[in-house]
């Protein structure tokens, strides 16, 4: 699946009243939602370890890594990254290599 981006290039100057006439959106065109990398709670992995993994993989600051770790711990899951599927899969693979429970989910 690929993302289809609508890029509007306005070559003409806007009308003098300041409003811009936009072309009608083609409803048949599918706009993909981004993919989320979700880390799930795991009672075995140590908190310090999870923080270090987030810093290593996503280059999060210590504070951001801790925030996500606590979200996982308290809410059971945390979205740690969103974007295109290919990159998301790469992140999940890295997280699995560190034995964190991670999945890829499409945003709704």
């Amino acid at each position: 699946m690929r993302n289809i981006l609508h890029i509007l290039i306005l070559n003409e100057a806007p009308p003098s009243n300041g409003s811009v006439a936009l072309p009608e959106l083609d409803q048949s065109v599918e706009l993909d939602q981004p993919w989320n990398v979700v880390v799930h709670n795991d009672p075995v992995n140590l908190m310090n370890y999870v923080v270090k993994v987030f810093v290593k993989i996503f280059e999060f600051s210590q504070a951001k890594a801790e925030k996500h770790m606590w979200e996982v711990h308290k809410k059971g899951r945390s979205i740690v990254w969103s974007g295109n599927r290919e990159r998301g899969e790469l992140y999940v693979q890295q997280l699995h290599a560190y034995l964190l429970l991670a999945t890829l989910e499409q945003s709704v």
């Binding site: 993994v53 999940v92 699995h96 560190y98 999945t103």
Partner: protein, 163 residues
């Protein structure tokens, strides 16, 4: 445990674990084998990509990603096994183990594999894991193993800059 454990970071970055008795040495030597995948721990060590929401993607994941993970995990366990061969006596009744700086990440990962495998094998509940209680017999030993490995991992994490 009748003697004091010693955790020491050396100037060259290696870490020294001393004051080990026979029993603790046996737990350390068991680490690589305990972390080896087995039917009860496989689903935890090799999770799926989408948790069944996309069966085809999960099948691809198992076919193409899992072999790399298996090799990576095996490499870490091999490194630990190699280091374990250097466990040596100190004094009359205790042993010491020196973990080279470059081995520390492999130890951290191998310990993780072992802890996750034990938890999966004995179906420890969140409460049991939280409280460190593990029933009787083999379960109790497994819980002690998990706690000992956890302590080791915590210590290695505290002295290791990067994973």
């Amino acid at each position: 445990m009748s003697q004091r454990l010693l955790f020491q970071t050396n100037e060259d970055g290696s870490v020294l674990l001393g004051g080990l008795d026979d029993f603790l040495v046996s737990l350390i030597r068991d680490l690589p084998q305990v972390g080896s995948p087995e039917p009860k721990s496989e689903s935890r060590l090799f999770p799926s990509l989408t948790e069944g929401r996309q069966p085809e993607a999960d099948a691809d994941w198992a076919e193409f990603v899992r072999p790399d993970l298996e090799a990576h995990f095996q490499m870490n366990r091999d490194r630990v096994e190699e280091d374990c061969q250097k466990i040596c006596p100190e004094g009359q009744r205790s042993f010491k183990l020196e973990i080279p700086q470059e081995s520390a990440p492999a130890w951290i990962h191998a310990i993780n594999q072992a802890r996750l495998s034990l938890a999966a094998k004995y179906h420890f509940s969140d409460e049991q894991l939280e409280e460190g209680t593990g029933g009787e017999g083999p379960e109790r030993l497994a819980m002690f193993q998990m706690q000992f490995y956890g302590m080791l991992q915590e210590w290695l994490l505290s002295v290791t800059e990067t994973l």
